[in-house]
């Protein structure tokens, strides 16, 4: 795994009264343990990866508590895991990235929601609309609404988040319904503090095992005719029970305004801090959360509690619903509630706020100012609001004017020395000879190939979906198509959705599987075949992609080291042109460089410390030989292969340059050969603590070379 979590594990065992200082997602994890969960599962993905990572790392502590932790093979298996709480009175939590993970999980979620739960079931999901969001912007609330699951969207401070975890379980149990908890990226990564409570060992778990399974009960099964009963129970029993719990425990919070103005704001809990800050900037609140306006903060966005809304709206002329994402489900429901209650009130929302996009400070400030401007009230001075909105706009204008044009974007890319980079260079070289081919991309680090300098990839249809998404493309192309998939994606879904479907339908096409050993993009979690690169670490499985593919019937199968660019180009060309029908799979083999470097650096440090012989290599460019044309960069894009001002007084254009971050992966040399680039590249090796013989040989060589050099001069 990318990080070591030893510090975090210590935090998780904090007892009653201790102050927990750390990241939001770890606070949530602590909340799970304080709630007495029996089991936790999930599939990693930003921003919730750390929840599972830390628990997987805390194996022995989890055993001590009797909590079962499962790193599921995908979100569907994680969701199905909650079936335990459907049948038994034990608490369980799962986590994944929404909306995509929720989609993968949907089959199991519908069955879970139909039968309902006995023990508390909590689903912790990441959702975001801002700059850090790496997936599609869709509302998980839609899933909660259609499946009648409850959705918690807590205020983004650690105390509120942890409290809502504990309430989430209780709410789930009180209403026999699974509860989803939605967290935005910044809330997951927020560094803050809360006062801990003791962890609770689960009543049913690894320590207290059940003697007998549950009694057979057809009523619980999500199977007709029970499902018809469930459908009614969702609205007639479970929802009212949930609303009672929410009302009774005041999960939604009303903050009374200081000015008694007949206006109010209704907002999602997750937006509270942004809204408060902007009220403060607009001159309508202080720094400590005392607002001039009444606020109704919905920490639970499904179900809404009708009378809470009614009470808040009564006596007001207008409310503004601040709700991120589209469609505006809350606004619609609130309108229905006040209409049925025959309240004379204007319900505003997306008429003052944008329909799409993140509700950041700027957006909220403008929306609230516009709302207040349209409903001028005594005692609410708006001069400050106008000034603030103007200031925000000016700040942007000043920057734009000073720069005179847009600043170049800097999207994420392959790491220095990444084993996947050479494969895309090889695809470019193969295309040079064969012509462009359709490239079907996938989710994972390799999707960075869609950025410059490769700009490869015609579609991205989901995690592990590249081959499946090529099914109707390949038969319509004169040239064969390529699907690219990571080993993470292969085990997540690609084997089933892609490979099996292709084989079953006697499809054609080329599948390149990036075997780097880990689910790398989400933080280098292990998967089924991680033992391929690290056979001695821990208790990894020795499942193997090659064997698996042979077992399901793949005939054309090659494994090529990713850095062997010439061989890769040759193999790709073979796969793209062979007369042999059927799926052709190339396993591009090369361990994730981040993982490898951690090992290499530690080993070198150890050798140096004990004074033993050690080597360090790096590539370089002879700047006199480089003719500043940069095809090497266009075939690589490695962060350490860059350009620098030309030292030649006769030349003006920058020369290629390999900076000190180079890890000597070898690609520059391979590329210089495979693409017949230029003779500028060299590999230099420094030898620490050399042996006596080595030093002697070196001296001899240097003597001969320097005397020859004199002749040359």
């Amino acid at each position: 795994m990318e990080r070591s979590f030893s510090e975090e594990i210590k935090l998780l065992s904090a007892g009653k009264g201790e102050v927990f200082r750390g990241e939001g997602i770890l606070a949530i994890t602590k909340g799970l343990l304080q709630s007495g969960v029996s089991y936790v599962g999930g599939y990693q993905g930003a921003p919730v990866s750390h929840l599972l990572d830390v628990l997987v790392s805390a194996k022995s502590y989890m055993e001590e508590l009797g909590v079962h932790v499962e790193a599921c093979s995908n979100e569907a298996s994680a969701a199905a895991m909650l079936g335990a709480s459907q049948v038994y009175p034990m608490r369980g939590a799962v986590t994944w990235k929404s909306i995509v993970g929720t989609n993968v999980a949907s089959d199991a979620l519908s069955h879970l929601a139909s039968g309902g739960v006995k023990g508390g079931a909590l689903i912790i999901i990441g959702e975001d609309y801002g700059e850090g969001s790496s997936i599609i912007q869709e509302r998980s609330l839609a899933v909660a609404l259609k499946s009648s699951m409850w959705l918690v969207d807590p205020r983004p401070n650690l105390t509120s988040m942890v409290d809502m975890v504990e309430h989430g379980f209780a709410l789930s149990e009180a209403s026999n319904t699974p509860v989803m908890m939605q967290l935005r990226i910044r809330a997951c990564h927020v560094q803050g503090e809360f006062v801990a409570r003791d962890n609770v060992k689960p009543k049913i778990g690894g320590i207290h095992k059940l003697a007998e399974p549950a009694a057979f009960s057809y009523d619980r099964l999500a199977h007709p005719p029970s499902t018809f009963v469930h459908e009614h129970a969702k609205v007639s029993d479970r929802r009212p029970a949930a609303q009672d719990y929410i009302r009774k425990h005041k999960l939604n919070e009303v903050f009374k305004g200081t000015r008694n103005a007949p206006l109010g704001l209704i907002l999602q809990g997750g937006l509270y801090n942004t809204v408060m800050r902007q009220l403060c900037e607009l001159g309508l609140a202080d720094d400590y959360g005392n607002s001039a306006l009444d606020l109704l903060v919905l920490n639970v966005t499904n179900p809404l509690v009708g009378d809470e809304i009614e009470d808040f709206c009564r006596g007001k002329d207008a409310v503004l619903v601040i709700e991120e994402g589209t469609p505006e489900f809350l606004e619609q429901q609130i309108l229905k509630i006040v209409t049925r209650a025959k309240l004379k009130i204007e319900v505003c929302g997306k008429d003052f706020l944008p329909e799409a996009g993140e509700y950041n400070g700027q957006v909220v400030a403008k929306g609230v100012a516009a709302f207040l401007g349209a409903h001028k009230k005594k005692g609410l001075a708006l001069a400050g609001a106008g000034r603030h909105v103007k200031k925000v706009e000016e700040a942007l204008a000043i920057g734009a004017k000073a720069l005179g044009g847009p600043v170049l974007p800097r999207p994420p890319g392959f790491c220095t020395g990444c084993p996947e980079r050479p494969v895309f260079g090889a695809i470019k070289l193969a295309e040079r000879d064969l012509g462009k081919v359709h490239v079907s991309s996938d989710i994972g680090c390799h999707s960075f190939a869609t950025f410059a300098p490769f700009s490869l990839g015609n579609s991205i249809m989901g995690y592990g979906m590249s081959l499946a998404s090529m099914a109707a493309v390949a038969p319509t192309q004169q040239r064969r198509s390529i699907a690219v998939m990571g080993d993470g994606g292969f085990w997540h879904n690609g084997l089933q959705s892609g490979v099996m479907s292709n084989l079953f339908n006697k499809g054609d096409g080329v599948l390149v599987i990036m075997q780097n050993g880990y689910t790398s993009a989400t933080g280098q979690q292990d998967h089924m075949s991680s033992a391929h690169f690290a056979p001695v670490v821990g208790d990894k499985l020795d499942a193997d992609i090659e064997t698996t593919l042979k077992a399901v019937g793949v005939k054309w199968l090659r494994t090529v080291r990713t850095y062997s660019v010439e061989k890769m180009v040759h193999t790709l060309k073979q796969a793209l042109t062979t007369a042999e029908k059927g799926l052709k799979v190339i396993i591009a083999d090369g361990e994730c460089m981040l993982v490898r470097q951690r090992g290499i650096k530690a080993e070198r440090a150890r050798l140096l410390k004990e004074g033993s012989r050690a080597e360090q290599e790096k590539f370089g460019v002879d700047d006199e030989v480089c003719v500043n044309d940069h095809p090497c960069v266009r075939l690589s894009g490695c962060p350490s292969l860059t350009t620098k001002p030309n030292p030649d007084p006769l030349r003006s254009e920058p020369v290629a340059h390999v900076n000190q971050d180079c890890v000597a992966c070898g690609l520059c040399g391979e590329m210089a050969h495979a693409a017949v680039l230029c003779p500028s590249f060299y590999r230099a090796k420094r030898i620490y603590n050399p042996g006596k013989l080595e030093t002697m040989v070196h001296r001899l060589r240097q003597t001969v070379i320097s005397s020859l050099s004199k002749v040359a001069a």
């Binding site: 801002g130 847009p406 001002p645 030649d648 090796k685 050099s709």
Partner: protein, 474 residues
């Protein structure tokens, strides 16, 4: 005055921005402040641009912390710390650096984006514009080359940033608390060096690294038989011509350098054109054939450059492996013209032969490896008889004629025609494609302009645009 100090850190994935914000949080806590930090790492952890946002506040009388925001707002950031120039400019663009409020601490070095470094020519964004925007949009600022600093002390950039923040007293946190916060982080000795360097530069106790002249002094000439002729060149071009002469004597011989001077003769009165032409001509005449590459590869100064790049200052052993891949075109280049052409024609008839080449990894620090390259470098005597020599000279003559004709009509056009030399570069296939592009531009733009009645500025501008387009290709 707000009860909350707002700090935005802009960095690239892998620079330790998260660790830096963690240090600030720990230091602020030790100082007794309420503090909150957040970030959007996501996939941006992989070399992309990313930001970290920290708020530090006073507790109220009841001990409650302020309601902290999770993201910065335009015009509302007190301190911006950026690890790189373009990222600092990005913060300006996004409205986070404003003249009424923001202290900007930024590094002046560049980490180039992919489009900047993959252009065929110079795709680098204008650093002066960015520097001016930083100065114009910040209230106060402290700018220095943090990359060079961290290189000097051997650490990563985040500790230098923290040290500078402490030295400039940007946050209400004492130096001791910063240092305390860094304790126990991996690599703490290196971190401490970085911190102290950043601190000392910020307080003026240590000089900020100065950008050196990127240009290298030309190789000293053993003798200068053409000194008198060079001295007779117009002053505006003399230094370039002197370097050119030295380059060509080294490349071939004195006669060849004399040819260079002869070729410049018709342009003696051309003013600024002469200087540019002298520069381009010297580069074109010292085209990179195998012999030249070998010559450059066996130079003692090359090996000392490599030694310093890998950090060797004494006589410790090191190894250098060079990557060559000569193919049929490179071989043909070395043959006499008739023979070379026949070889190329033979290869052209069978496309699969085009790909014939010999991949060589030569260890130039071994005696046998060095000897092989050294022998190639000794083949200078043969160069004048090669196909490549004949072709290059013909192309150069043709190009000079074009410049001369253009000069007679329109000096502006002549400068652009001279500039066409910039697009003829590369090795192997790239070079062949470049020659084709050159010919195409001459046929499409230059020839019609020179044979027609009028010329005018329009053509010069068009040619300039076409050249920059070719060089901007990725």
């Amino acid at each position: 005055m707000s009860a909350v100090t707002r700090l935005l850190i802009a960095a690239l994935g892998g620079e330790g921005g998260g660790v830096l914000s963690g240090w600030v949080v720990a230091a602020a806590q030790a100082q007794g402040h309420a503090v909150q930090a957040t970030s959007v790492p996501g996939v941006a952890q992989r070399t992309g641009a990313t930001t970290y946002y920290v708020e530090i506040g006073k507790r109220d009388k009841k001990g409650a912390a302020p309601v902290f925001a999770l993201m910065p707002v335009e015009g509302g950031v007190d301190v911006v710390v950026a690890s790189e120039l373009l990222e600092a400019a990005r913060m300006v663009e996004r409205g986070f650096v404003t003249p009424d409020r923001t202290f900007l601490l930024a590094s002046t070095h560049r980490v180039l984006t992919v489009p900047e470094k993959s252009a065929r020519g110079d795709g680098t964004a204008n650093a002066d514009t960015m520097m001016r925007s930083l100065e114009k949009c910040s209230k106060e600022r402290f700018l220095f080359d943090m990359a060079e600093t961290r290189q000097q002390v051997g650490t990563i950039v985040n500790s230098v940033m923290l040290g500078a923040m402490a030295g400039l007293e940007l946050l209400p946190i004492s130096k001791e608390n910063y240092l305390e916060a860094m304790q126990g982080t991996a690599g703490s000795a290196a971190n401490l060096r970085g911190f102290e360097a950043g601190f000392a530069i910020a307080t003026g106790e240590r000089e900020a690294p100065q950008a050196g002249d990127p240009k290298r002094a030309p190789r000293p000439m053993a003798a200068d038989p053409l000194a008198a002729r060079v001295a007779g060149m117009p002053e505006g071009a003399r230094d370039v011509v002197r370097i050119g002469v030295g380059r060509l004597i080294d490349y071939q011989d004195v006669d060849y350098a004399r040819l260079y001077l002869d070729r410049l003769q018709p342009f003696m009165e051309s003013g600024p054109l002469l200087r540019e032409l002298a520069r381009h001509l010297a580069v074109r005449m010292s085209y990179e054939d195998i012999i030249r590459v070998a010559q450059l590869k066996v130079r003692p100064e090359r090996f000392s450059r490599i030694r310093s790049e890998i950090g060797i200052d004494g006589t410790e052993p090191f190894e250098v492996v060079d990557f060559f891949k000569p193919g049929i075109p490179e071989l043909a280049d070395l043959l006499p013209p008739a023979l070379g052409r026949r070889l190329l024609a033979w290869a052209a008839r069978a496309p699969e032969k085009r790909g014939y080449n010999i991949g060589m990894k030569v260890k130039t620090t071994s005696i046998s490896g060095f000897l092989r390259v050294w022998l190639l470098a000794r083949m200078r005597f043969w160069r004048r008889r090669t196909l490549r020599f004949a072709e290059e000279q013909a192309q150069i003559e043709g190009w000079l004629k074009l410049v001369e004709r253009a000069q007679a009509r329109d000096p502006a056009l002549a400068r652009e025609v001279a500039d066409l030399a910039r697009i003829v570069k590369g090795y192997g296939d790239t070079h062949r494609r470049a020659v084709t592009t050159y010919r195409d531009l001459v046929e499409r733009v230059v020839d019609p302009a020179l044979s027609g009645d009028g010329t005018g500025k329009g053509v010069a501008r068009r040619l300039k645009e076409e050249i920059s387009q070719v060089l901007a290709t990725h």
